[in-house]
């Protein structure tokens, strides 16, 4: 299995590349990047070739691609890769518009290639344990979920509406939205959101609060804010409080940390010791691509999660809850 990384605009690309390099049955064959300096440096780091031309990259002898470009470029790259017959792992959010996401899913289907959306949180061991507990009926039926995906303001193209398609709500809605869908096995029916810019002098939203309803009547809220100050001891969090008919589950997915107090650092830091999650994601992608089988996270999953962010923006615009499909 020969794999190409397409753009390292998103820093997750480095971690995915490392996971490919570690995989016994896969080879990191090529890196393409619209930024030749960044791509060249990464190719050197991972000991693979750099190719400055996307079409030549896709014409090369590779089986699969991992797309970690800026959000707004996902569609063009993915559609080209699908037409070139490459299996695709695409960074989240899958796209910035419903039409783009639908075009990507359709292109992969038409070309008969596998399309997987990168939701690595599904591979964090605490998240997997929650999924298992829910499947075992530990708390009965899910009634309500309170979620957070806090972060620091990432800057760069993430704060450029033309490149990211939005701000914190676009960036940080999809992980938890995906986990909620995965845990419940149900679709969102409505979204209400307050969206604001309160933290940084940037052109996109940096905070918000979403309230969702799901089929069957469960409800959920999600705080996707880039509200962690630079002085905070870690990058952010993914948390979920799940209320069921028979009990509750509290998830703090990235709380496996040591507290470090070092005189040379300005602030206290949390040093993670939790298990890597990107490797599980990449391994599942390689397995699905090798078998030409449906991956455990599909393009449709990516589309449904992104749709929640789009509904949140529409709700904030109209001041009313947005009903899906209405």
């Amino acid at each position: 299995m020969r794999i190409a990384i397409l753009s390292l605009a998103h820093f997750h690309g480095y971690s995915y590349a490392a996971a490919v390099a570690k995989h016994p049955a896969a080879e990191l064959a090529l890196i393409w990047d619209e930024d030749a300096a960044r791509g060249g440096a990464a190719a050197q780091q991972f000991g693979c070739a750099f190719e400055p031309d996307l079409d030549r990259t896709l014409a090369a002898h590779i089986d699969a691609v991992i797309i970690t470009s800026a959000n707004v470029h996902h569609k063009e790259i993915a559609v080209k890769a699908a037409r070139a017959g490459k299996h695709i792992l695409c960074e989240k959010p899958i796209a910035t518009t419903l039409a783009d996401a639908q075009a990507m899913v359709a292109a992969a289907r038409a070309a008969g290639v596998q399309f997987m959306t990168a939701f690595p949180c599904r591979y964090a061991p605490p998240v997997l344990r929650v999924k298992q507990a829910l499947e075992q009926g530990a708390i009965g039926e899910i009634l309500a979920i309170k979620g957070t995906n806090h972060g620091r303001m990432p800057g760069g193209w993430f704060a450029d509406p033309g490149m990211a398609g939005g701000g914190a709500v676009m960036d940080h809605t999809v992980h938890v939205a995906d986990l909620i869908r995965w845990f419940l096995g149900k679709e969102f029916t409505s979204v209400y959101a307050e969206v604001a810019n309160r933290f940084h002098d940037i052109r996109v939203d940096d905070c918000g609060m979403l309230t969702m309803e799901l089929e069957g009547g469960a409800f959920a809220t999600l705080d996707p804010s880039w509200s962690r100050p630079a002085a905070y001891p870690t990058w952010g969090d993914v948390t979920m409080e799940i209320v069921g008919t028979k009990g509750t589950i509290s998830l703090d997915a990235f709380s496996q940390n040591l507290s470090l107090y070092n005189n040379d650092d300005r602030v206290a830091a949390w040093v993670p010791y939790g298990s890597d999650m990107d490797e599980g994601l990449v391994n599942d992608f390689i397995a699905a691509a090798a078998a030409n089988a449906r991956p455990p996270i599909t393009g449709e999953d990516g589309l449904r999660a992104m749709e929640v962010a789009l509904m949140a923006y529409e709700s904030a615009r109209t001041g009313a809850p947005v009903i899906r499909g209405a």
Partner: protein, 330 residues
């Protein structure tokens, strides 16, 4: 300061002790259940009042403290005010804005002082956090999160489970957080909420409420009667910094009994002791407001506005629509 207390349930018991600690003389206690009144009265050397009217006709009593289920507040406050007594009433002030307004009006007309026990303003962790915010330590507040709750409460006649009387946890419990948020971050413009109370007949309640402030800040308020134990906390994130507090993580004292000695299983009981209970601080303050004209930290109008937020949240949960609050003060 001589006090007559109405109600010997959970809050009546706490207030009885706090009045005593604050140096108020608890003259008499009235409760529908004379044995409950007697138990509290015995702790502080008070008399047991045979009727509420007996408290009102005692000319030596300055203050009537009403610790009753919410729907009873208005009738008891009105009678106390008409009898010329100053009044302290448990939160929430009333189940409707109409009742809340009427209670404030009658106390004003009767020329008596009227206080509502929004005790959270006297919890030092909440007061410190507010002071940090006002001192600009987090910069411009952006997103505030609060949480409160635990096990489904049991009270006299199981009145908490009767939502027509308790008004659900959204009226009964997270009104504490609504009041603290309004005190710290200013007026609320818009409310959106979901609540289990509109969806299940089980003995469970869980509410997630979003507030949008006139300042533009956003708050998320979680209230639960679906968990175990009791836990509360908050996080204030702003443009320059962040404050967080989680009662579950602050455990300066943990007493743990070994299983063999405890009998069945080993139980750890955490405590976070203060020199004075926030309830006593609160009651001492209200006593000084009445006796020495100290400026009230929380007014009946504040209590009215907190009820307004709770009722807006319940309306939103019922209708599925955001509720915009009236701008004008009365």
């Amino acid at each position: 300061m001589r006090v007559g207390i109405v109600g010997a349930g959970t809050m009546g018991t706490v207030h009885t002790g706090s009045h005593h600690e604050a140096g108020h003389q608890v003259a008499a206690i009235y409760d529908l259940r004379p044995e409950a009144a007697a138990a509290n009265a015995a702790r502080v050397g008070a008399a047991v009042a045979p009727t509420f009217e007996a408290l009102l006709s005692d000319p030596t009593i300055d203050l009537i403290d009403i610790c009753l289920p919410t729907p009873l507040h208005r009738a008891f406050v009105e009678k106390a005010a008409r009898a010329g007594k100053h009044v302290l009433c448990e939160k929430p002030l009333a189940p409707t804005l109409e009742d809340a307004r009427a209670m404030i009006d009658i106390c004003r007309e009767a020329g008596v002082q009227f206080y509502v026990a929004h005790v959270l303003r006297f919890f030092p962790e909440y007061e410190r956090a507010r002071n940090l915010v006002l001192a600009g330590k987090v910069g411009e507040p952006g997103v505030i999160r609060t949480t409160r709750g635990g096990i489904f409460p049991t009270g006299w006649d199981d009145w908490y489970a009767d939502y027509s009387r308790s008004g659900t946890l959204t009226l009964d419990m997270i009104i504490h957080d609504f009041d603290w948020l309004r005190w710290t971050f200013g007026e609320v413009e818009r409310v959106y909420a979901k609540s289990l109370s509109t969806r299940t007949t089980e003995r469970l309640d869980y509410a997630l409420v979003t507030l949008r402030f006139a300042s533009g800040a956003i708050a998320h308020v979680e209230g639960t009667w679906s968990h175990s134990g009791f836990r509360y906390g908050f996080e204030v994130a702003g443009s320059k910094g962040l404050i967080d507090f989680d009662s579950a993580k602050i455990q300066p004292v943990v007493v743990q009994k070994r299983a063999a000695e405890a009998g069945v299983t080993g139980v750890a009981v955490p405590e976070s002791p203060l020199r004075e209970s926030p309830y006593t601080t609160e009651i001492r303050h209200f006593g000084r407001c009445i006796e020495h004209g100290e400026i009230p930290i929380v007014t009946a109008y504040d209590a009215y506005k907190a009820v307004e937020i709770s009722l807006a949240a319940l309306e939103s949960a019922r209708t599925g629509r955001p509720v915009t609050l009236a701008k004008e003060a009365f």
